[in-house]
């Protein structure tokens, strides 16, 4: 069976050696071929075993401080070398800003077709068939790559990570990388990690609570965060909220923020502008609370409450805490 390369992102929340979207990629890769993990940075036995648990049958490893210090191109050179050695049926990369940059440059070097933002990937007679959500989420498109090694970026939550019943011991293949000078053109001079909120990551949270302009004021946004904590959810914001600097940009959901597809999406004080809908209408269940009965978000809601969120949410938090006992 042919290999399917997966670019693995190290370090997830809760001490996991690998981020959850990478486990989703390993799960998806099994539909097309034999997953081969490409790991940038140091690798230990525990990580190899962990990857094997999610179906990796081979691990390509490249370790150099340059991989963190310089943007994108070193990882492209690592992946290109792995492609040369493995002749894979496809390369899967997580659809986030860095992943897209890596995939884009790789596609140019391989002269291969690229499809981004996959919400699903399936095996097909002529190679992987990729599902995307387009036109602000209004249409679903299935397409495939007909030239070169398919390069596919896959959105977080496109699959549920599944362990394999009988992991095999993967062969670990170190990649000796001679980085070109070209790879050293964009250097990270300073990286200030943001303080952790202790909440799940927006990108792969099962539940998201989002506040919009209707929340009314930056200090009032606290009720959104309290509901999120009661539900064990991540916190999102609309563009109006981040433009007003009530909350930082990394919380923004929608066309110029994040695209999310959680199991449950709670939108409070969110009207439902098309740019926002584009980023969340793939959510499985949508709940909306808004004062305006004409707000477009109600057309998408599985359960809607026309009412004042500052009355409904605190009462809901009480109800949830009562039920938790």
């Amino acid at each position: 069976m042919t290999a399917v390369l997966v670019l693995v992102e190290r370090g997830g929340p809760g001490g996991s050696p690998v981020r959850k979207p990478s486990l989703e990629l390993l799960t998806i890769a099994r539909r097309i071929g034999e997953p081969a993990a490409v790991v940038c940075g140091p690798i230990d036995e525990a990580t190899v075993d962990f990857l094997a648990g999610y179906g990796a049958t081979a691990v390509y490893s490249a370790d150099s401080p340059d991989l963190d210090e310089y943007l994108v191109v070193p990882k492209v050179e690592v992946l290109a070398e792995a492609v040369r050695q493995a002749a894979p049926a496809a390369v899967l990369v997580t659809s986030n800003p860095e992943g897209k940059d890596v995939a884009a440059r790789l596609a140019v070097r391989l002269n291969s077709g690229i499809i981004t933002d996959a919400t699903d990937v399936a095996a097909g007679p002529d190679g992987p068939v990729v599902t995307q959500s387009v036109f602000a989420g209004g249409w679903t498109v299935r397409s495939r790559i007909r030239r070169g090694t398919p390069v596919i970026t896959v959105r977080p939550n496109a699959a549920r990570p599944e362990r394999v019943a009988d992991p095999v011991q993967p062969a670990v293949q170190p990649l000796a990388i001679e980085l070109s000078d070209r790879a050293r053109g964009a250097r990270v001079v300073n990286r200030t990690p943001r303080a952790s909120t202790g909440r799940p990551d927006l990108a792969d949270a099962a539940i998201i609570v989002t506040g919009g302009r209707g929340v009314g004021a930056p200090e009032a946004f606290e009720v959104i965060e309290r509901l999120a904590d009661a539900l064990g959810a991540a916190v999102g914001a609309t563009r109006a909220v981040t433009d007003l600097s009530w909350r930082p940009h990394e919380m923004q959901i929608g066309q110029t923020g994040k695209t999310v597809a959680p199991q449950l999406y709670v939108a409070a004080g969110v009207s439902g502008a098309i740019q926002h809908l584009a980023g969340m209408q793939g959510s499985r269940t949508i709940v909306a609370v808004n004062k305006d009965p004409k707000a477009p978000i109600f057309e998408y809601a599985d359960f809607g409450v026309v009412g004042d969120l500052h009355k409904v949410l605190p009462a809901l938090i009480n109800e949830i805490e009562k039920r938790k006992g």
Partner: protein, 259 residues
Amino acid sequence: MKIVVLVKHVPEPTAAWRFADDLTLDRSAVEGRLSQLDEYAVEQAVRLGEAGVPVEITCLTMGPAPAADALRKALAMGGDRGVHVLDDALPGSDVLATSLVLAKAVQRIGFDLVVCGMASTDAEMSVVPAMVADRLGVPQASNAAELGTDGTTLTVRRETDSATEEIAVTLPAVVSVTDQSGEPRYPAFKAIMAARKKPVQTWSLADLGIDAADVGLAASATVVEDTQPRPPRAAGTVIVDDGDAAGRLAEYLATASFL
């Protein structure tokens, strides 16, 4: 410093889009405009000049004849000249072909810095900046929230999911900027009039030395199998709060196993 800003003419985001018979986006059916996210790129190029670096700003687009409107808007915002790559062979081009054409045009213009928006508001792939950079053999930084330059190095501040990063990029380079980088100016009437007199060149594929067989729908490395409208969501329950909405919502969430 020679700056090239990549701009795209896109269908109005609020219009109803549809697929043409060849399963590409039907661009003739809707009004177009300069992609809102590219306005931030033009704005940043102009601001670099205002910050004291002498700049010459060329706005570059590829697309059918109406794409010239997007160029005019970019020139009204402060671009010095425009280049429009226009060729009957181009429609349906995938990102490999698009990046090839844009990179050849950038090379022909000459550049120290290429500035792009964070995504087009139609295809939304966000891969063209990296692909153009790779074809040009230069470094690139994506999603800049703040730019600065001394003429040899570009300094970028950007926000990732987990950190604030400061990046030093050796010029020549490609950068993309986010909608957090600074509100684009609204051109005054005088600027709109002045833009009509700014030079715009139209180049064909032959001008760029590109074989027509390497672009367009037939050369696309991807092929669409089918398209489906998203099934309408089953009508949900909407209740008006009479004081009991929280209880009913909690009941709904519990039934759906979220509590």
